[in-house]
Structure formats: C-alpha cells, structure tokens
C-alpha cells in the first residue's frame, strides 16, 4: 500500500475532484428513483453533510455527461442538459436590500447570469469534444455556434460565439465586483434581464440542430441554503414562473431552513412546482453495498481479484445499474468489504478480556469483588475464562439489587457442569454495555467493538464521508505499523480499526466547532451529551445499557424556548444529532413529542459509548437547557446525581474532582 492510496481516501469532498466526475462517482443504490433526468420540473435535492449532493449534481451536469472519458455517448443526451452553479455565498451575503437598496435584485441576477454564461460556454466546448455515437449530429461544429443577434447590444460586448462566454464571464465578474465595491468610482455595468438573455441563448442552441430543437436546460444551484432568504425567494420566483427550457433546481442540507416563498404572495408547492429527493433515503443494507462499491472504486489498482475490476465498470453508468441489483454481486462485494475491514464478535471481545491481565483485573476487582456481600464468596467463583461472556454478565448481575449472589453462583456452577446457559440468554443484551464498562474502567481509549465493516457502516449512518474518513484513518494507522506491498490490500486488523475509530472520532468531535456560526455551542453540546451518556454507561448494573439517544419532555418541539429550538435545528442541519420519529403511539399516552435525537454514532468512540440505538433517556426541558446553554457549574450539578448512581460516592469527594473526571475526557 502506498501513500497515494491514503491520499485517495483523504479526498472526500466533491470540490477536491475534477468537475467531470465520470468514473469517479458511484451512483447511489436508489438511483432509479432519483435520476434527475426523469424529472421535468424543479427538484430540491436534500442530504446531510457529506452525503454526496455536489457529486450527485455534477454527475447530471454537462462536464460529466459530455466527458471525453466516455465513448459512444447517446445523442439524445443533448436534449436535457444540466448546468452547475455554486454561488459564492460569502460574496452574495452582502448583496442585500440594506446595502444596495432596490438594486440588490439586479446585482444578484447579474451575478447568476455571469455564472450561467460561463456554463453555456463550457457546454459548447464539452459537446464539441464529446465522443458521441455515430449519428448526423454535427457536434464538432457547435463550437462555432453564434450568440443571439441582440446579445452584444444588450450586454455591451463585442463577441461572436457562445464559446467565448467563458472569458467574458471572468471580465463581467470583475466588473460587477468593482462596481459593487465602489459604485462612486467605477462605471455602472449594464443589468439586462437575466432570464431573457438566457432564453435567447437557449433559442440559439435549439436552432443549432434537429437534435437540440427541444433541448431543456436545468440549472442546479448548490449550497442553496447559504443564500439569503430574499435571494432564495428571487430564485423561487424563477422556479414558480419558469419556462420549460430553463428549469431551476437546488441542493441543500437536510433540515436547513430554506424558503419556499416567492417575492409575491405565492409559495412553491410540492408536486405542483417542485419535487423533493432525499439522497440518504436508503436502507442499512443498501448503504453497505454502496459503501463496498465506493471502496472498490477507491482501491482500484490495489486489488487482484478480477471480479472486482469487472464490477468497477458498473458503478458510474446509469445504463448498467440493473447489474448492480444482482444478489451475487452484492454478496461478493460485501465479502470483499468484510475482508478489508474484518469484524470481531462481541463474544470474542469478551474472550479478549481474559487474555488481557488489566481488563481481567478490572472485571474481577472492580466489578465483581465490590458487589459481593458474603465474605465466604470470592470473585474467582464467578469468573472462569472458559465462559468469558457469562463471567462478564455475572459482574453486571451481581451489581443488580434484584439478583442474589447465591442464585447467580448456582446458575454459573450449573453452566460449568452441564454447559447449560439458559439463565444467561436473557441477559446477553447487556454484554456490549458490560464490555464498554470494563474498557472505560481500565481507561482504554481503543475498544475493539468499534471495528468491522458492518459496524462501521452502522456508525456512518448512511453518510459516505464519515465512512471514507474512517477508512482513511485506518490506512494512516496501518501504514504507521506495517510495511506493505504496493498492490495488495490486506485485512485491516481489528486493533488498528479500533485505534482509527478512536482517532477519527476525536477529529470529528474537534471539527464540530467549525459547523456553522453556532459551532462553538454545538461543540459544547456534543461534549456534554457524550459525557452524560458516558456517565450512564458507567453504571455497574447496566440496568439501562447503551443509551445514546434521547427524547424531550415537551408536547411539541415548537414549545421549546427559542434558543434551544435554534440549537436543536443547527445540530440536525450539521448531522451532529440524528432525528428519528419515535413511537407515535407513546406520544398520546405520555403527551410528549415523539421526536428522538441520537448523538451521531461517529462520536461514540471518543466517549467510549455505544453506537447502537438501543435505549432512550428522556430529558426535561430544563435538563436540555442546562446541557445546551447552562454554565459549567450548572452542568456539573445536573450530572452529579447520575455520577453517584454510576460509581460509589467515595470516588468523588468534591465537585472539583468530579469536574476533573468529566473534563479530562474532552
């Protein structure tokens, strides 16, 4: 394995790839239902941070569709052409009515126009170089396609061809920038109507050939949520009153507060004016296959299995998508991925406790021994390396007031004699919690449960960037410990995966601060939730193990205080929390909102907590206010009762010691 491969995995943002993503992009598993070419009206593309929105849009845009990496491109592709626009939202943030008065609309429209003109120039360049199937479509000569008759008059330019618009747009952008910076000093640019200019260019394009006579363009606006509300409304006007020849679609972060209003009284109406697609709307199993597909694409050149190289050809072409639905295909891929990131069963992790003196000591001396009341009983009676799972479960059960030590011993002896473990079967659901307790208690920062392809997919929660960042960290760690061949990809050992999971998680937590303007607050919330769930995880009885999600005692989220609503919304937008619709039946019973929130499982290794959504904790509104906005002292006071439940009182004689314990983990 060479450093090049590490770099390949480090690239996980669309902006790090060329604009032509042909061969670099794996179509998502639900592609047939979200193929943008199947829509004849605006589409709003939603997806979490790192869900692949930009790559998805670019796949549908002309740089990819008319890529010269493709052969025999169907001429019918010129009938629907995607244009890509990612506005410079920093620049656009100042194009507002407050600053420029009523002129802001003209300025913003001109900004859009300039960027779309550049796209038209690229379209003709790309088509002229594209390898189309044999036909009478004169693709090469499109480079000489002339601008509409009145274009030069209206734009105060002197150009002949559409292909010259690229250079023009650079000049126009500089001109606009100069003028908005210093309107008194620079000459005022012209502000022709954006849509009619674009329409005239489309007409020229339609006149070019029989194949383009009904061509429709779609302008995909990325990062739509970062435009101002008024700018979104202006674009919504264009969507509402758009024509068939230029459709405007957009992509934005799921849960972002985007406007559906227009500048008039009307609003955009779902189905009538636009369709909505969710890029992360697929099952866990679909995500696993998708992740395995991306893995083989990234590992190209490093895999010897010939079937993998064959499969790779299927990934980036919608005409081959049916081949990817085959069972054999997905089984082979998953087998490959499971071999790359092998897993360890929880039972084997339990065995590992007995092969590690420190961990075994934690079990014996810190979990079992303090729970024994009878002086006649010794911890050794409850621990036997031949029965690691049951020994660990004994540690937990002994800490439960409802269980008698005599009875447990009886059942354990029965097991040892006859191998009958019926008694333990009903308690196996606490095994993961118990393992976490032992590892946390020993102060271990890497825990083998955070490993294996399946579990990593579960932790990524349908987010490809998380998955790729984990793989990247695995390779970085692997390279630190091993010298490897250039071409063969090995299995990444569980211990390396666990270390990578921890480091990746630490990085993820550290990065939370960067997420939006409330990043500082989000960072504190993540730490506090993580530490709180860790406190619950430290309960010896594991009566409620693996709590990593919560509900709120409020009838509706709308009833929450404004600042909490805002932070909750930010946490969702940035996928720090994942929102679930919980059990709606319970709502009527308890009269609380059924929405539940899970701390994103990629943060779990940092706090040594579970990544599985098993049990819920319910916070009061006051609890949430303390966690989200309270002072450090408030938070420590809030945690204290849970701290006492989870450990013995004597462990923390003062708030200062407790604080040290809490914040050492940050």
């Amino acid at each position: 394995m060479n450093s090049e491969l590490i770099k390949i995995f480090a690239k996980n943002r669309a902006e790090e790839f060329p604009i032509d993503v042909w061969g670099e992009y794996v179509l998502p598993p639900n592609y047939q239902s979200i193929n943008l070419f199947n829509f004849d009206k605006a589409v709003m593309v939603e997806g979490g941070r790192g869900s692949g929105k930009t790559m998805f849009l670019r796949y549908h845009c002309h740089d990819t569709r008319f890529s010269n990496k493709r052969e025999n491109v169907a001429v019918r592709e010129v009938r629907k052409i995607g244009l890509y626009l990612r506005p410079d939202t920093h620049f656009c943030s100042s194009i507002t009515e407050e600053i420029y008065g009523a002129s802001w609309k003209k300025i913003f429209s001109k900004y859009i126009l300039i960027n779309v003109l550049r796209e038209f120039s690229s379209v003709v360049n790309n088509i002229s170089q594209c390898n189309f199937e044999k036909s009478n479509f004169p693709s090469k000569s499109i480079i000489n396609l002339e601008l509409p008759r009145k274009f030069n008059d209206r734009m105060r330019t002197n150009l002949t061809y559409i292909s010259e618009l690229g250079t023009l747009s650079d000049e126009l952008l500089a001109e606009l920038n100069d003028w908005v910076s210093d309107p008194d000093y620079f000459e005022k640019p012209v502000f022709p109507d954006t849509r009619s200019i674009l329409k005239s260019i489309i007409e020229s394009f339609r006149d070019f050939s029989e194949h383009t006579k009904s061509t429709a363009f779609t302008l995909y606006i990325d990062e739509y949520e970062n435009l101002t509300t008024e700018q979104q409304e202006l674009i919504n006007d264009w969507i509402k009153h758009g024509a068939d020849d230029l459709i405007i679609s957009s992509a934005y972060k799921k849960h972002a507060n985007v406007s559906r209003s227009t500048s008039g009284k009307e609003s955009l109406v779902l189905r009538n004016d636009y369709r909505k697609i969710d890029l992360e709307d697929f099952s866990t199993n679909e995500f696993k296959v998708f992740a395995a597909e991306i893995l083989i694409l990234k590992l190209q050149g490093c895999v010897e299995e010939s079937f993998i190289n064959e499969y790779r050809k299927l990934l980036c072409d919608e005409s081959l998508i049916n081949h990817r639905l085959d069972n054999n295909y997905s089984e082979n891929l998953l087998a490959f991925a499971n071999n790359f990131l092998p897993s360890i069963s929880y039972e084997d992790v339990a065995k590992g406790v007995f092969q590690d003196k420190t961990l075994e000591k934690r079990l014996r001396d810190f979990l079992v021994k303090p729970a024994l009341h009878s002086t006649k009983l010794t911890p050794e009676l409850f621990i036997d390396s031949r029965f690691p799972v049951e020994s660990i479960l004994n540690g937990i059960l002994l800490n439960r007031p409802s269980q008698s030590e005599k009875y447990i011993l009886e059942k354990f002896d029965e097991l040892k004699k006859s191998g009958d473990n019926t008694f333990y079967k009903s308690y196996t659901d606490v095994l993961v919690g118990a393992l976490l307790w032992i590892y946390i208690s020993a102060g271990r920062r890497t825990i083998p449960i955070y490993s294996g392809f399946d579990r990593i997919c579960l932790m990524a929660r349908s987010n490809m960037r998380h998955f790729l960042e984990f793989c990247h960290q695995c390779l970085v760690e692997y390279k630190r410990f091993s010298e490897l061949s250039e071409t063969v990809i090995p299995s990444i050992p569980v211990s390396i995966q666990a270390l990578a999971a921890r480091k990746n998680s630490e990085l993820e937590v550290a990065k939370v601060v960067e997420l939006g303007r409330w990043g500082n607050n989000l960072r504190f919330i993540v730490n506090r939730l993580g530490l709180f769930f860790q406190l619950l995880q430290k309960r010896k009885s594991q009566s409620e193990p693996e709590i990593v999600h919560f509900g709120i005692e409020v009838t509706s989220v709308e009833m929450l205080p404004e600042n909490i609503k805002l932070l909750l919304s930010e946490l969702k937008i940035w996928s720090v929390l994942i929102e679930y619709q919980g059990d709606t039946k319970r709502k009527s019973h308890l009269d609380f909102t059924s929405y539940e929130y899970m701390l994103h499982p990629m943060f779990s290794p940092n706090f040594s907590i579970s990544f599985r959504k098993i049990r819920k904790h319910t916070f009061s509104v006051k609890d949430i206010e303390i966690i989200f906005c309270g002072s450090e002292d408030d938070f420590i006071t809030f945690c204290k009762p849970y701290l006492n439940k989870s450990t013995s009182e004597s462990d923390f004689s003062s708030a200062r010691e407790m604080q040290g314990t809490l914040f050492d983990e940050i």
Binding site: A10, R13, A14, E15, E16, I19, R86, D88, T89, H90, F91, C92, S93, S94, T96, E98, I99, Y100, G101, Y111, N115, R118, S169, D170, L173, N177, D178, V180, S181, D182, Y185, F186, E223, N226, L507, A510, K511, V513, E514, L515, G516, R517, W518, G519, N520, N521, R523, E632, Q659, G660, L662, F663, D664, I666
Partner: protein, 304 residues
C-alpha cells in the same frame, strides 16, 4: 499611505495626545476600559463611539443608527468643521469592520490616524481543569455572525479561478475552521497561515499553533510569521506574499491579534480594487475576555 511611528506610550500620553476625533468602541475588559477612560479625560478630541452590527449591516454612532451606506456621509456630518488633522482610533475596543470603514473614511479625507492598542496581561482559559483542551481554549467570543462580506472590501472569484487565502491566526480554531468548512475548497485553492511570532507573551504563540494546526493539515502552504504586535510588519508580509502571487485574488482573514488585523486593514485599504478581499466572521466578543493591561501601542499612519 505612510507609516510614521510605532511607539509604546503610557497613560499620560493618552491624556495629552492631540486630535480632532477619538473613535472608540464599547470596552469589554480591563485594557479597553483603561484606554477609553484615559482618552475620555483628554479634552482635545470629539468623542465618537462606534459599533457595527454585521447581522443588520448597520452602525450605531453615538447612539444613532446609521445604515452602512451612509457611514461616511454621517461621519462627515458630525466631524468638526473643515477637518484636516488627526484622528485617534482605539483598536483595543473597535472591531475589524469598524476599523476598516473608519480608516477608509480617513484615507479619503487624507487624514492622519493615530491607532491605539493595549495588550492584555492575560487571557483566562475556559476551564480550570487541567486538560489540553482547557489549556489552549479561551473565552474570547461567545459566537459570531459568521463570514459575511463587507461591501467595499470583498472580492469574488469563480470556482474555476480560485482565490488564495492568507489567514492571520489567533487563539480560536473555530474561526479558520468555519471559513474552510463553509468554503469546502470551492473558492479557495490554497492557504498561507501567518502566526503572530513573536507573540505578546512567550507562551501565547503556542496556543495559536495548538488551535489551528489540525485544520491546516492538507490545505496549507508553509506558515509565515510576523510580530503579533506590529501592524507594519504584517503589512510588509502581506505585500511580499502579494508580490509572489501576482495573478491571484487574495482573501485576507484577520482572525489573529488586533495589531495584525490593523496591518491587514491598512493593506486592504492600500489595495482597493486590486484583487485583495477581506474574509471576516464578525465575532461577538465576550465580556471580560482578557485581564489586565500591559503595553500600550501607538501606531501612526498618514493618509495624506
């Protein structure tokens, strides 16, 4: 633009310094109070308190709400008649946005600006608890308005011809982090970090490195260094970088010390319409963000 003086001064100098107007902001900590109180006792200049609200793009000047586009004309209106002399600008209490617009106004009127900056004795860390995070984390700002462009000082680029970011770095990881997170490499193709070395105090540079180093991995060019308390050195460093990147649009993010930010403001002002733009996140500064007062700097710049 001419850099005339760089001095360390004391309270008595603040009391006697001559000027037509004294611009200052709301003091939030000991050093801010120290400078503002001293200059308020100085009877010579007219006192003008300025605050910029980036969320509304509006100034509050001596209590009056003034839209950004009317800023210069309002200053003209309230200035002593036939102003031709000097102004004092307290950079301890004024933010980057206020400094930029005040200095641009001074530039257009060809005035002389005496810029004051007081260094603090210390910045209290967020936690008492001993942890790496606590040791390098300070409560300097509670939140920010976010990176919002300031009209007159912004350059846009296309995703085809990207910009080069020069980040003057300080104690808050969040500031560079948010900038790069928002951009995702769409408009910025490279980053040159500038650390304030030597720092105000020997240990301070360590915090800047600790806070920003992770974020610079994979995206950054080699770091540059310039004195944390000398705006003229920052100016020269920026000038040198611009010379090395003649065809690039430069985005400058003054998110480090205030003297470095003053240097950045002066550089931007001397390169208006020259492919130099500002990236700024308008932090909402915390009360009591620092303690004590040490050196008081006086930087004199002539726009005449």
């Amino acid at each position: 633009m001419k850099f005339e003086n760089l001095l360390e001064v004391d309270r008595s100098k603040l009391l006697t310094i001559k000027a037509d107007i004294f611009f200052f902001g709301e003091p939030l900590d000991d050093r801010g109070k120290f400078v503002v109180l001293a200059l308020q006792e100085n009877l010579s200049p007219k006192k003008v308190i300025v605050k910029f609200d980036a969320s509304k793009m509006t100034f509050t000047i001596n209590g009056a709400s003034i839209p950004l586009r009317d800023f210069s004309s309002y200053l003209n209106k309230i200035s002593p008649e036939n102003i031709t002399g000097q102004i004092i600008v307290d950079a301890t209490t004024l933010g980057v946005s206020e400094l930029l617009y005040i200095l641009r106004w001074a530039l257009r009127l060809e005035l002389k600006a005496k810029i004051i900056y007081a260094e603090p004795k210390n910045y209290p860390s967020v936690f008492d608890a001993p942890s790496d995070y606590g040791r390098h984390h300070f409560n300097l700002s509670s939140s920010s308005v976010g990176y919002r462009a300031l009209p007159g000082f912004t350059r846009t680029t296309s995703t085809v011809k990207k910009a080069h970011l020069i980040a003057l770095l300080g104690f808050e990881r969040v500031r560079l982090g948010q900038l790069l997170q928002n951009d995702e490499g769409a408009f910025i193709e490279a980053v040159t970090p500038i650390f304030g070395v030597p720092s105000f105090r020997p240990s301070f540079d360590k915090h800047s490195a600790y806070q920003n180093i992770d974020r610079l991995v994979r995206v950054s060019d080699k770091p540059e260094f310039c004195c944390a308390s000398n705006p003229f050195e920052t100016f020269r460093k920026l000038k040198f970088i611009k010379k090395c990147l003649p065809d690039k649009v430069l985005h400058i993010a003054p998110i480090g010390t205030k003297p470095m930010a003053i240097g950045a403001c002066l550089f931007i002002l001397s390169n208006l319409n020259e492919n130099v733009g500002l990236m700024y996140d308008h932090p909402i500064n915390s009360k009591g963000r620092s303690t004590g007062v040490t050196k008081i700097h006086l930087y004199e710049v002539s726009f005449a």
